[in-house]
Symmetry: C2
């Protein structure tokens, strides 16, 4: 476990550690979208990552950083989403036990995914209190190590490997845009990108209806996200005390996006690129298209965070 | 223009000719689908090709094979679909005029795509008679050269470049599966694949409701496709006298797929691979999953022909 804010060297080590297990995801381009944005865009496709989201990078890095003694105790988390599936798969690959607390209303396909990777699931009432107390009991019973979905230095270093690969392939990017939920992805992106290219700009993108990072940077302290309202259900959480200082130091700007902007960007990517991304992944393009007044750069990397969309209920 | 059945050398020349314009599309794999199929599958993603379909390969090859004198006359075709868009873009890139006859009921997005590439569109009644007579008049007025969507040796050689790239990347494939409509893609696949690897098997896949290639191989002569009934709207046409002999010589088997099998395979690819393919592209996986009794090979290449699906009206 890393107990200090990760350095670029931690990202490099993470990249090496997860290489046998994670996908080196492709970078796609689309001339029609370049025309819309007035810039050259490079989409890092984490929708093609294992479990369909960048979350596997962080979970895999942490699980394979554990000593054998630590691993023998197993790992635990509470999550209704991609982090649970990512931890379950990483644990399966390492051969250690994984305990996941899920709210009883977690989507059935997520439950099946987590169960399919052999994790031990405990259901609880769908409240944060119930999730935390249930998790605490499991940890005290089993001795399992709690793995937070984003407020964890090993997770942050792991998430940084997406930007590490992107800049390795496209070293002349001016800017990288990443979505901001709890801040794990964007803070890892900062460490990786600034380590490789100190003059690169890092821009965060957030739904208008969940703009706690925007507010936190304005205020200079963590503003918790209360009652978020957005289709981008991966971006509902507040920043953590490990992610916020990294964001504060390196992120030059947070651009917020309307719900229509998110849906239009999602549809544009589906239609023009023929790939499936989830709403939370669409905020990066939404931010560019909704802020043509911002001069963001000529060559822009965008991290498409995941592809676990509901194919039965499309927002158009 | 090629006036003899193409050889492997024609495919190689086509690959070189179209390289500056066409995408070298990625090959994706999916461990979950491998488990379902009981084999290792390699998906050649022509849904990421220019205009969203393999059709651009053939159109590009033919347009850039024209002499300057031929090119000056322009090219013409009738099509309601991907061939029209492919020819329009290829013509735009070469800087020659493109005349497209479209039925008045052609989907609006296809009309826009063709118009967006600057082609000259003439609308006609949605009957084959009206399409052919309108095209004949345009050709007699302009001297433009007719480019058939599949019954053309240059088109066939161009379509073969998809399999050429696939086998170049994965030389140890046992089998390639391609969909069969008019036969341009699969006959090009035969020329390319057998030229590189004489012992490879080529399998065609077809909707049960448009199984004219299956019937044609059984009967030993072209059986026209009358009243096709399938969601795979790219596979409605009959074989041509240039494609059938190549198929007859090289294709070992045609597997037919039910409508449910097509829809399930399409959904499986959307859900598991996070890519968008059109129904016609799903028949290749549908064929494998619906015929587990067939021993097709351990390493199988599948050509995903295109991604121009209707995002407003999904079949599930």
């Amino acid at each position: 476990m890393i107990s200090f804010p990760p350095t670029f060297s931690d990202v490099e080590k993470a990249a090496e550690r997860i290489a046998p297990f994670a996908e080196k995801t492709p970078v796609l381009t689309c001339s029609a979208i370049n025309e819309m944005a007035g810039a050259e865009l490079f989409f890092k496709c984490e929708n093609f990552q294992k479990v369909g989201a960048f979350k596997f990078r962080g979970a895999c890095n942490v699980v394979f950083s554990l000593t054998d003694d630590e691993g023998a105790k197993g790992v635990a988390t509470h999550s209704s989403g991609n982090h649970a599936a990512a931890l379950a798969l990483a644990g399966k690959l390492r051969g250690i036990s994984v305990h996941v607390v899920m709210p009883s209303n977690a989507p059935e396909n997520k439950q099946q995914a987590v169960a399919g990777y052999g994790a031990d699931i405990t259901f609880c009432e769908p409240t944060l209190d119930a999730r935390e107390s249930t998790l605490k009991k499991i940890i005290s019973d089993t001795g399992a190590i709690m793995i937070h979905p984003y407020n964890d230095y090993g997770i942050i270093a792991g998430q940084g490997t997406a930007a590490f690969e992107l800049i390795s392939d496209y070293p002349d990017l001016d800017t990288i845009v990443a979505p901001v939920g709890g801040g794990g992805l964007i803070s890892g992106t900062c460490i990786a990108a600034k380590g490789m290219k100190p003059d690169i700009s890092i821009i965060g993108s957030e739904p208008q209806g969940a703009d706690d990072a925007f507010q936190s940077l304005e205020k200079g302290e963590i503003v918790p996200q209360i009652h978020p309202q957005t289709i981008a259900d991966g971006l509902l959480t507040s920043l953590g005390d490990k992610t916020f200082p990294i964001i504060q130091k390196h992120v030059s700007q947070i651009l917020t996006v309307s719900e229509n902007g998110i849906i239009n960007a999602m549809r544009t990517i589906w239609e023009r690129m023929n790939i499936i991304i989830e709403p939370s992944a669409a905020v990066v393009l939404g931010a560019l298209l909704e802020h043509p007044e911002e001069s963001i750069g000529d060559k822009i990397g965008l991290i498409l965070s995941g592809g676990n969309a509901n194919l039965k209920n499309l927002p158009w």
